[in-house]
Subunit: 197 residues, 4 copies
DNA sequence: AATGAATGAGGGTTCATTCAT
DNA sequence: TATGAATGAACCCTCATTCAT
């Protein structure tokens, strides 16, 4: 009845995910993680090099997968903010499939090298393209504060879609409705902005 | 040369705020808080009954104050989502004035009874009125998921206004612009929703 | 029956000295040190900032004292290797009085910042003056290898005088006899060295 | 592609020597030793019965060889301290050839049964003959403290010759010069000692 | 001969809280 | 009111060795 290494690794990953989600990286206890996986803390180190390695192993594959997906999405999207519904759906679907890992990354990574990942994502990855779209459509440089706030709102929209517990059908419908909302707001705002000058 | 109790209390509150903001409730060290306030851990317990009491003392007055303000605001607003700019400004101003305490509540309260306060605020306090406004304007029951997501986005908007480090002038201008954005989106969305049926 | 802080500190210093001497810095167990001093490991940290602080506290005062003594000795001695018996006695007496701390420094300091102190002492502190004396007496540059070996031998002589468990009378007599030994060897060697050229 | 047992044994010996020299017996990690030898800790126990067995296997052959050499040297030497330069050279040459093992024995054996080997060597093996030589030449019983100190100095001389990194030519020359030093000191000291009575 | 998972005790350190003074 | 020593459990991690495979 020997347990296979792969099994144990997965037991630990699963137990770690559970504890990290429940208590965050720092407060989660390695002892508890091991106990719930049915082994001693010493044994743990035959499978992972430490607490952070366990965390990374949970989160890294998802990050890599997301980056690949995002690259393919971005190459289509760049020109058009309003027609990206299909792409949004692709992204959200991926995120829902890995919602636990996303949550680890965004809310439970304090004390790891992934701390601040959400802010990095927003400011470094998403913001530049977002500002560019706004500027292009407005035909002028739009107030970065405005762009950033709207981007944050967009991001929050995604978070709710991911964690709201909706079925894919519901998500699809919601994305379309929210696109209507955003698009209308977007165009009306740009009109307004241009009137100012 | 006796220091007055009130002074000490305030020293501890100030030191605690600093540490809680920097490290969160759980990771902040009571020792450090006391050291920075210039007294010993033992003395601390003459002023507060424990770590969480210190946290509560930082956050409770602001909560009470906010509730009062919110009550007076809500009584005017209920009827009209689009004319609420003035009220929004009142709320945001209050929040900016207490931005540290808000941050404590929203981001540093893990491990205290205030954990999950943000979700409580959104779901229990804001959501019911929000849903009602949507329903009334649409003349029908709007999909709660939709309302909730937009509420979350609204909330995120406020967060950015509060923590963006803007001057009150900038905030005022941004609120107006974002009201344009939201209002346009709101109306267009309700049209769309009504078309469906 | 309260124990005073000073007492506890000294209990810990004494217990630490005992364990460090017996097992060396790294293998000595802080838990054991504390247990033998009659308190818990937690309590230890009210008196010292850590294991190395305890070690430093044992060894630093002696180093400072030795340096002061050595400065006053060196200022008299520089000119004459052979008449230093009185000064040697001063040094050795100091060392015997602090023999435990010397042993900590020389043989039990692995893993601390004092690691390699003996080599530092020989090469950086003693060697330069030693080489100079040899060179001056020989009237030429003496092979550094030779000087270094003899210096090491001298150092070993001191070690034995310190750790041999002799009374001060015995030490005094031995120093005189060994001075005879060294002096004769020294002069004969320099003759030989000069013959070579 | 089977590796031969002999090879593996030697890999382990070599890796062990490296780690023991670098960290000492106790601090050296068996895991690391095995990893550097390219196998697992489990496999190790097919070749050695434990950590100390590995250490012994490094050091025992050298001890045996040294004892044999020393026996043949001692049988010639006993009569004459001053003509032993040739014999000294033989011993030192052997030691230099096995300098790593000597260092293991003298400086890295803490925690093994070889702990205190240096003291054993000096007091049990070398001292009796040394005292005898002194007594015979002095024509009386020389103060054992004096003999022991000089013996320690002699031993330190050897250590420096072995670990100073000198070529055999340099060693040879140094031995001769140091013999001059020791011999002169020795004779002068015995005169002095005899004057006393 | 080799693997590598598991053990179980131990390492130094930090923590919020208590309490005699 | 203030002190600061003490508690006692918890933290992550390392270790030499064992043993079923």
């Amino acid at each position: 009845m020997a347990r296979i290494a792969q099994n144990i690794r997965e037991l630990l990953l699963s137990s770690g995910k559970e504890q990290f989600l429940a208590y965050g990286f720092e407060k989660a206890s390695l002892r508890t993680i091991c106990k719930k996986a049915g082994l001693t803390t010493g044994a743990f180190y035959n499978h992972f090099s430490g607490k952070e390695d366990l965390f990374s192993s949970l989160v890294d594959p998802m990050i890599k997968g997301f980056q690949e997906m995002y690259q393919s999405v971005i190459s289509q999207e760049l020109a058009d903010l309003t027609t990206g519904v299909e792409n949004e759906l692709t992204s959200i679907t991926y995120a829902i499939k890995h919602k636990d890992e996303f949550r680890l990354l965004f809310e439970c990574s304090n004390g790891t090298k992934y701390e601040g990942f959400k802010e990095h994502l927003i400011h470094e990855v998403f913001y530049p393209g977002y500002q560019e779209v706004f500027d292009r459509y407005a035909g002028r440089h739009v107030n970065p504060a405005l762009v950033q706030i709207i981007l944050h709102m967009k991001f929050e929209e995604y978070m709710e879609l991911i964690y709201g517990g909706y079925t894919m059908e519901e998500v699809k419908k919601l994305i379309i409705q929210l696109a209507v909302f955003s698009e209308a707001g977007f165009h009306r705002l740009l009109e307004e902005v241009n009137k100012e000058s």
